[in-house]
Structures are given as C-alpha cells and as structure tokens.
C-alpha cells in the first residue's frame, strides 16, 4: 500500500512542475516525488534509498511541497510515525546530528501545518513552542536588523555584539549548533553569523541546512573560523557561506562586511 496516494493523484501537476523547474537544488525534491509517480516507490525508505538521502530528508521535501500548496498530502503527523516532537529526544545523551534536528523541525512544521491556520497558538509548556516557524517578511528600512550569532566564546561574542549593536543591529546569540538551529526557526534573522566550530552542529552543517531551507536561502551567512586547514574557507563557501572571517578578527572590518551583506540592494539580489 503506497504511503503517498495524493502524490500519485497529482502526477500531472508534478510533471508540469518538473518541466518548469531548472534549478538543481529545487529539482531534487521534485525528482524524488516523480520516483513515486513513475517508478512506483511506495515508502519513503524506498525513495530515500533511490535518491541516496536519509528518510528524514524525504520527509522534509514532502513537507516543503505540502506547505507550498503545490501538492496536498495526508497529515504527516499521522502517516509518519518517526516524526516525533522535539521534546521526545530532548533528554537523549546522544549527540544530535543534522538530519535528526531537521527531521524534528520538519515534524513540528508539518504538525502545525496539519492543524490549520485557526488553531490556538502553542502554549509555553508545549514542546512545539520553541520551534514555531515565523513567516519571513522584509523589514522596513528604519527597523533594526536582527543578526543571529552562533558563538561559544563569551569574549568573542561580546566583541561582535558590541560592534554590531554599535552599527544599529540587534544581535541574538546561540552558544551551540542545536540552539542555533532552534533560534533560526524562531527568529526572523536578517543575517547569520556562525562560528565554524560550534558544538552539536558545526557551522558547516548549519550553513548547509540554512541553504536548503527556502525561507533562509536569500539570507546572508558569514562564517567565523580560526586559522586551520586551507580547505576550511573552501568548505565554508561550498556550504553556502557568503563570507568567511578569520579569527583573530578586526571588529571594524567585521562590521563593514556584515553591513555590506545587509544592504537592501544586496539582499534583494
């Protein structure tokens, strides 16, 4: 029995979408859905194996298309027993990996989507409270820019905060990668400033995740790193960073680079 009867029903719509879409990143999820239509893949595990991705990634793709309204799916919370709320793993000793966190975040989003638009807002005690996605909106010119900083070192963080707040931005700080991912979901940050060596999820993993999320794709990412291997910078850009700042850094230089990326013209582009 197929897990995806709705997708099969929407085969024509899906094929039309595949014909329109040329960007490889956006094509990949569509190709996954076409596998269901054309090759009769019946479970997300089959799709994941065929696409060489994790089942969590397939869930995410499905959720993305469900959200965008292109396809209507059955309630993911009911159909996907693995999509557990974030709190279910909150006390686990195991180090979280990116796909787990993404799967959890997507499960939250899918649950909220399935609840409809007129549902009661999640209470503070709800496990979903921390991860309620915020609709991305463009800020007015006079509004303060929000920068999400992922930095474990208090001193480095305080220097960066002082510099960016002097430039008129508001800085929110996460001290590890998992907290950063949760805050990214919660805040409507204009720019992400991430240390490459964050614990939990490192800067590269976070950057890749942000680039895969349509909501954050246009948001600039600046990575911060200590001198190490020469490939660090290459890896950062490959992960989707817009700029890479080496520590020790010049606070004035950092302010200028962040300011350049926050300029409206740059953001619109």
């Amino acid at each position: 029995m197929s897990e995806f009867p709705q997708i099969v029903e929407k085969a024509a719509e899906l094929k039309a979408l595949a014909a329109r879409e040329s960007h490889w990143k956006r094509r990949k999820p569509i190709e996954a859905l076409l596998l269901i239509v054309d090759r009769g893949a019946e479970t997300r595990e089959e799709v994941a194996a065929a696409m060489d991705v994790s089942p969590g990634t397939v869930d995410r793709w499905l959720a993305r298309y469900a959200e965008s309204g292109i396809l209507a799916f059955a309630e993911p919370g009911a159909e996907n027993p693995e999509a557990a709320p974030v709190s279910s793993d909150a006390n686990s000793d195991a180090e979280p990996n990116l796909s787990d966190v993404i799967a959890q975040l997507d499960a939250m989003r899918a649950l909220l989507a399935s609840a409809g638009t007129d549902h009661e807002p999640a209470s503070r005690d709800s496990p979903t409270h921390q991860l309620v996605p915020v609709a991305v909106h463009e800020r007015r010119q006079d509004e303060k820019r929000v920068i999400l900083l992922g930095e474990a070192d208090d001193l480095v963080a305080s220097i960066i905060e002082a510099r960016l707040e002097k430039d008129g931005s508001t800085v929110q700080r996460a001290t590890d990668g998992v907290q950063f991912a949760a805050m990214a979901e919660e805040l409507n940050a204009d720019l992400f400033l991430i240390d490459t060596r964050l614990s939990g999820l490192d800067g590269y993993q976070i950057s890749r995740w942000l680039r895969e999320e349509p909501r954050f794709q246009s948001r600039p990412i600046v990575m911060l790193g200590w001198p190490g291997k020469e490939t660090d910078v290459v890896d950062a850009f490959a992960a989707g960073a817009d700029d890479y700042i080496l520590k020790p850094f010049s606070p004035v230089d950092l302010g200028a680079r962040v300011g350049r990326l926050l300029r409206p013209a740059r953001r619109a582009a």
């Binding site: 002097k166 001198p227 020469e230 606070p251 004035v252």
Partner: protein, 367 residues
C-alpha cells in the same frame, strides 16, 4: 601518680592537641576562602570597570576618540598596584588574542604602562609565572621586549621555552624561524605536531627558510624532520625535490618517515623511484610510509607499483599490510584485494576487516 592518671593526662593532651589542630585547620581554611572571595571580588570589580572600556576601545572606529581614551586610561593604569596591573594585563591579553589590526594596536598601547609588571614575572622562580610573563610580554609588547622573549627560548623550563616560541611565531616574522627551530630540536618533550602548529603561525613566508633547513645535511635530523612536517602542512610543492634527495642519501628513521609523508602530499610519479626502494626497508615504519607514499605518487592501477604494493599486503607487520590495502584501494586496484580474499591469503581476514572503510562498492564485493 597512678598509671590510670597518667593515661588520662595523655588522653586529655591528645584531645586538646587535636582540637587545637582542628581549630587551626578551620582558621586556615577560612582565611584561604576569604582570600579567594576577596580576590574574586577584586577581579569582578576590575572586570566590571575594564571590560566595557576595552570593548569600547576595540569596536570603535573613531581614532581620535580612542586615542584620547587610551591616554586617560593609561594614566589610571600607572597608579594601580603591580598586582592589579598584572590582573589587568591578563584581561587585556585575552582581548588581544581575538582581535587584530587597529584594535590590537590600541590594546598594546594601553598595556604599555603596565608591562613592567609582566616583565617582573620573567625573573620569578616559578616556571608557570615566567611563562605567564612571556605570554603577556610576547603578545602586548614584543617589539620593545624582543630580547627578553628570545632569551626565554633558552629557559630551563620547557613550558617557558614553548610559550616564547609561540609568542615569537605569532608575530609572523621569518627571522624567528631559525631560533624556534633550534629550540624545538632541543626539546625532547615537544611533540612534532606542536612545533608544526607553531611554525604554521608564521605562515607561508617561512617556507624558503624551512626548505633550506630541511635540505641542510649539517643540521640535526630531528630539526629537519620538523621542517618536513611543517612544509607538508604548508603544502610546499617545491619541497618534493629535496625530499627525494633525502630519501636517496639519509638513513635517519624520523627524517625518512617525515620526508615520505611530505612526498605523499606534494610528490608525483617522477618521485616514485626513490620511494620504491624504501618499500623493502628493514624498518616497518619506513616500509609503512613508503607503501602509502607510493600509492599516492604512482596513482595508476596498471603500473608495476601496484604489484609492489600488493606484495606489501603479505608484510609481517599488519600496519604495513593495512596501509597496502588502503593504497591499493586509493589507486583503484581492487583486483589484488579480491584475489587476497578468494585464494585464502594469510591477510584475507585483515583485508575483510579494513574493507568497510575502503568504500561502499568494495563493501558490497566483500559481502
């Protein structure tokens, strides 16, 4: 006095003694605790005053305002006690480690009046205090205290010498490469990777000096091996020729192994002949590195080197055999590996063990 009375007297004295000792210990503990609390309070006070000032100095781009502030703060620092000056220097040096450019220059100027307090530490008996002195002076006033830091390279304590080497390397000046190399070669407890990371701090500008030292037969093999490692991490392609020369002429195990590792990173097929002859060395460390380097430099599955690496699969040292298996996989020659698995080779179980790390396709084949 009866015996019982005497015993009672001894007991009373013992109890009184114990009580006195307990009271004294409690008093000492309280004194230490109070002292600690006092220091903590002073440190908090110092931080609450100085951290906002230091933050303002490092993030401000108004040079005139900052210069004026540095002048005012310097006058304040001059009247502080030496202990307070030292505590402040420790705070400033933490800032100086994370910022560069104008921000660090301002910090150095601010620290100047307090530097005599750090210099005073260089003469202390405790090596940790001397190292702290070198650390502060090296970061905040190397230009004016270069001689003191260079002298610290000959200190009796390895900790002080290492701190001095690190402080000099961070300055990024190539004239410090030689003294650092000399110190490093004399330090038995200094790990090679530690020295390499120090030399990396100087950056690519150090490459010509390191290459010269690496090729110099008059120099100690330990120092040359360190140069080889540093050149490897700096990806110095021009070091491949001197490395090949060393493989043909030298016998020192450490130097040969380091040269082979260097060639593995920067060498090509033209360097393979020099590597080949070391695949049959009597020393397993040399054989191991030679096999790995040969796989990296020859790079073709149909080359005769593949057979040589295949022979190393039967090496008495299992480490060499593992390297050979990985090497064969690297050059895309799974025929040897498959043969080992099928003909009941003595290393078949080893190959099966390392197979999962060799790649997905081969894992399927092994299954």
């Amino acid at each position: 006095m009866s015996q019982a009375d005497a015993l009672l007297e001894v007991l009373i004295v013992a109890i009184a003694g114990s009580l006195a000792a307990a009271v004294l210990a409690a008093a000492a503990a309280m004194t230490l605790r109070l002292r600690h609390l006092f220091h903590e309070h002073r440190e908090r006070q110092l931080k609450s005053v100085w951290i906002p000032r230091l933050l303002s100095l490092v993030v401000d781009d108004n040079a005139i305002r900052c210069d004026a502030e540095v002048g005012v703060f310097s006058r304040e620092i001059r009247v502080l006690s030496q202990t307070r000056q030292r505590a402040l220097l420790e705070l400033i040096v933490r800032f100086a480690f994370v910022v560069r450019g104008t921000a660090r220059t301002r910090l150095c100027r601010l620290a100047e009046p307090a530097l005599p307090a750090a210099r005073a530490l260089l003469g202390r008996r405790d090596p940790a205090m001397r190292a702290l002195g070198v650390h502060i002076v090296g970061r905040l006033g190397l230009d004016r205290n270069e001689k003191s830091v260079l002298r610290a390279l000959d200190d009796d304590a390895p900790l002080v010498r290492k701190t001095a080497a690190r402080a000099l390397a961070r300055a990024g000046r190539t004239d410090y490469v030689e003294p650092i190399l000399e110190t490093a070669a004399n330090l038995e407890d200094w790990d090679t990777s530690e020295v390499v990371s120090v030399l990396q701090d100087i950056g690519p500008a150090a490459q010509p000096i390191l290459r010269r030292a690496f090729s110099d037969p008059e120099r100690r093999p330990a120092a040359r091996a360190i140069c080889a490692e540093a050149l490897r991490w700096l990806n110095d392609l021009t070091a491949a020729e001197p490395a090949t020369e060393i493989l043909l002429r030298e016998n020192d195990r450490e130097l040969l192994a380091a040269s082979l590792r260097l060639l593995r990173r920067v060498g090509g097929a033209e360097h393979a002949p020099a590597v080949r002859r070391l695949c049959t060395s009597h020393d397993p460390v040399i054989r191991l590195n030679a096999v790995a380097t040969l796989a990296a430099t020859s790079g073709l599955p149909e080359s005769p080197d593949a057979d040589l690496i295949g022979v190393a699969l039967a090496d008495p040292s299992s480490w060499v055999a593992i390297r050979a298996a990985r090497g064969l996989r690297e050059i895309g020659c799974s025929t040897h590996l498959r043969r080992v698995l099928t003909v009941g080779h003595p290393r078949a179980s080893l190959v099966r063990d390392v197979w999962p790390e060799l790649g997905t396709s081969t894992t399927r084949e092994a299954a």
